[in-house]
Symmetry: C2
Subunit: 301 residues, 2 copies
């Protein structure tokens, strides 16, 4: 079924303990679209500047991503330069130029409005709400956010959360959102605030899902080298939403399967700089890694 | 089968964000013996001072712990006063008085020497080696250590590691031991140094096992309140070793089952101060929590 994503597209300069990569295509919507395209057709809403390479959009289109919603606007593409510490969950922003992203107003093409699944990547919650206003009747809406909005746009974010089905945040964001360091308590508060499901990302430790009385934890796949963590969270969300849209199965079991596919996509993308690792993936490689997660976590009954 | 443990017995004063508890029985061997006694008879080797309450030893004996190896010596029992931070993996030692533990020399009673399973809790690796010298032919030896010995007694520790089957350390210790922050690389180096299995404890994130080409990860059970983390690692080791000694099954599957029982015991002990939570446990409660771990991690095939 149709999967819509709204979010940033960027050009990144990346420094990690493994090396450097410059002028790499990035942004949450880009990572999401690349990763979700292995599961289902994707509809993408974003803004790029005149400097954005057309061949990237062509490549996305060839992968089943509808880029009609990616507006090319006068000016430059969002540029981010970041440096990761030895401890890869810590990073510094060395340079940020919002470019055309500064006044991004998501306009949903008319024929996108019947999308069954939608993912609101991390942008201003006022814009995320505006996207929802334009959708007919999505079956499931997923949403990301960040510290900036939690602290600076709390009322708008709270109103948005009442309209989304699934929140995807990391543990720090869950704590900031609720004041609880304990993830069981934090999740309970988040579930009280609107979403039926919350997925809490814990970086190298994996992810934990809370939905009503159910809880599901998936460790991260232990990798010998994490080259570049950029986009891991977006690819995780893409695997989850992509598999849900592909299967249409939003049962507890369907959700678990989707979360593992999310973990699979997150584990792949960090193995090289930017989205490079995604470009050479096949469904078979994705299925193989799914089975690695099964054997990683399989408890004898 | 017979399970031997050698380690510290202490009287602790504990401060955690949940409150305070004074004069609580502690020490690695104590936690281990309490937790392992639910699985198999335990033989305990330790030293206590004249101030140590006899009723604790009587209680342990009533639980199937052979305390013939617990020497009562002139002087006072090891005393530790610790304060945990909001982030429970950080703690300060406010007071430490080694008492009779200062010149603890583990003497293994003659009839303990045929023990099939042995756990060397965290003490000087020279003493751990001395224990091994006194054992006939154990089927499986597990071993803990800490930063103090990794930095200060490296040669002795390295020699010991060549004689143990399973090393149980936390992620910081694994990093210190190998120089690798990446746990896959750290584990590979540890497996090269002697042990056939390494269990890396990651606190609130659970545990990961590396053995040859196999890797197994168990998330920690998400608890609404962690009251006191003291003894969690010792109870984890106790569940692992206790189940291995009970079943005699040291196959990959048997080891996985044992690691989950370890996680179960670790998840219980942190729910109250000191070993208090262990005292009221039953086998049925342990089996129920084992099943909670199964459902927590169960991935649809």
């Amino acid at each position: 079924m149709s999967l819509l994503v709204v979010g940033s597209v960027a050009l990144d300069d990346l420094e990690t303990p493994s090396g450097k990569a410059e002028n790499v295509v990035g942004g949450a919507a880009t990572y999401f679209a690349y990763a979700a395209s292995f599961f289902t057709p994707v509809r993408m809403v974003a803004a790029v500047g005149e400097d954005f390479p057309q061949e990237v959009l062509d490549d996305l289109a060839a992968r089943g991503v509808d880029v009609a919603g990616v507006e090319k606007r006068p000016g430059t593409t969002l540029r981010w330069k970041g440096r990761y510490h030895e401890q890869l969950n810590v990073r510094d922003t060395l340079h940020l130029d919002l470019g055309v992203f500064a006044d991004f107003q998501p306009n949903i093409p008319e024929y996108y409005r019947d999308s069954d699944y939608a993912f609101l990547a991390n942008i201003d919650p006022a814009l995320q709400a505006r996207v929802l206003d334009q959708l007919a009747r999505p079956k499931l809406v997923g949403c990301d956010t960040m510290n900036h909005w939690i602290q600076g746009s709390r009322d708008v974010l709270d109103a948005l959360l009442r309209r989304v089905d699934m929140l995807v945040v990391n543990d720090e964001e869950a704590q900031m959102l609720t004041g609880d360091r304990n993830m069981v308590k934090a999740a309970a508060k988040i579930l009280d605030s609107g979403p039926k499901t919350v997925l809490i990302k814990r970086g190298e430790y994996g992810v934990i899902e809370f939905s009503g009385n159910s809880v599901f934890a998936v460790p991260a796949y232990p990798l010998e080298e994490v080259c570049d963590p950029t986009g891991a969270g977006d690819c995780f969300a893409a695997g989850v939403m992509g598999e849900l849209a592909r299967s249409g199965d939003v049962s507890a079991q369907g959700l678990r399967r989707a979360i593992v596919y999310g973990s699979v996509m997150g584990s792949f993308v960090v193995e090289d700089f930017g989205p490079k690792r995604l470009l050479g993936l096949t469904r078979e490689m994705i299925e193989q890694r799914y089975q690695l997660f099964v054997s990683l976590t399989d408890i004898p009954r």
